[in-house]
Symmetry: C2
Subunit: 253 residues, 2 copies
């Protein structure tokens, strides 16, 4: 029953985190910039940067500081912890090639969907998603496919935390509407996004489970092509087959 709030935290660590996130936003900055932006003295910022520099989380070009490639190392490591990643890549490349559309993989973290891989078919349209991008979970098919597998309390927690902001006129913005949709997804076996995130884009998505939800895969494309039998039969069945292949691989590795 971990309450999400009010544990005792370490303030000086928080300022270091603020520094790192500011650098993530602006690319690079000097001591004075950071001191002004984060409302600390120059001396304070300096000693924090010295700590980060000593541990190589930060590099300096002259008098400007930026994030180091150590973050890349950590990122690659975190990705490699997902054992299913390699199989997913293989299957999504196949799906994208067969369908010509965009095929994606995402997982859930802290109540958001995180895109982890994107394969482009030869007719693929570009959307804003990209590796490591975070997105609200209720308005994309990938997210709903995962939500449908979660226990009710967990869904409630996530909605409490992030709300149900509208992205288009089709976005689900009410809790009971969401609950009904999730029920439908469970019955149907896959999730659908009917222009709920981006106007003109429809998606289908299937969850990947392996002793709990590990993520979801999806196919997305323009509504004109995502219609009729293709949208209701062909693509879902391809998708479910791929999800199945991934799950079987995961089970025996």
């Amino acid at each position: 029953m971990q309450g999400e709030q009010s544990s005792r935290t370490v303030q000086s660590v928080q300022t270091t985190i603020d520094i790192v996130e500011h650098l993530r936003e602006v690319g690079e900055a000097g001591v004075t910039d950071l001191a002004a932006a984060l409302d600390h003295s120059k001396g304070t910022i300096h000693s924090h940067l010295a700590t980060l520099l000593e541990n190589e989380y930060v590099v300096r070009n002259g008098d400007r500081y930026g994030l180091s490639l150590k973050f890349l190392d950590f990122g690659e490591y975190v990705k490699s912890q997902l054992e299913i990643y390699d199989v997913v890549v293989e299957e999504l490349d196949d799906l994208a090639a067969e369908t010509g559309e965009v095929a994606q993989f995402a997982t859930e973290e802290h109540g958001r969907a995180v895109y982890l891989y994107k394969a482009h078919g030869n007719q693929a349209v570009n959307t804003a998603s990209s590796v490591s991008k975070r997105e609200y979970i209720h308005c994309i098919s990938l997210g709903k496919a995962m939500l449908a597998q979660f226990p009710e309390e967990r869904v409630d927690e996530i909605v409490d935390r992030h709300g149900l902001p509208a992205k288009t006129s089709n976005t689900i913005t009410e809790r009971d509407e969401l609950a009904a949709e999730l029920q439908e997804i469970r019955e149907r076996g896959y999730a659908v996004d009917d222009e709920e995130m981006i106007e003109g884009i429809r998606c289908v998505a299937a969850p990947i489970t392996n002793d709990g939800v590990v993520g979801a895969i999806s196919i997305s494309g323009p509504s004109s092509r995502m219609a009729g039998e293709r949208f209701e039969e062909t693509l879902p069945s391809k998708l479910l087959r791929s999800a199945n292949v991934i799950e079987i691989n995961a089970k025996f590795s």
Copy 2:
């Protein structure tokens, strides 16, 4: 004249860093594990983890903590800051396809070489290198190609910091030997690794400069194939042509 030592640092930030790096090593751990491993009280570890959790740098499965995908986001960001990355990928894929060997890209950070991309040709042999891996700079062709472009003081700094540890019997372990080699590289225009890092593997590498050194690219393979005219003419010229393409692209973007 930034001395590398003795600036005032923030100790509590250091413990958070220790926690993060420990998690990077063991994958996941509980409060008690961390307290024992890092020699702190459980309470201390707890408040640090709470800070990390609140900022989403860490996830918890039950009572075990692990690094979150936020590191992936930061890693991707840092990679994207290297504007030349996309061109490099394209050129290395070509090089690997043409030659059948392994083609790689690395840059320098904190006196070490950091691999950033690896393309496999159809005869490629597997080496231990991989994206974000750090390696000593003096014993690989990529590293020497970069060192040869640095001012003498910078080379000295790096050697002071990391030394010249031997990896094979061919590794350069003396400063004057290194200086002579770097001079030769400057005259020749590219660097060579003759089994100095791994027995049986030879490489050629060329620096990528754009208002300073941004990295280096290399081709590596088994010594049996990396010999004669191919090693001394064909591969170096292909490599230099690719380096040139990359530099021109970098200049106009």
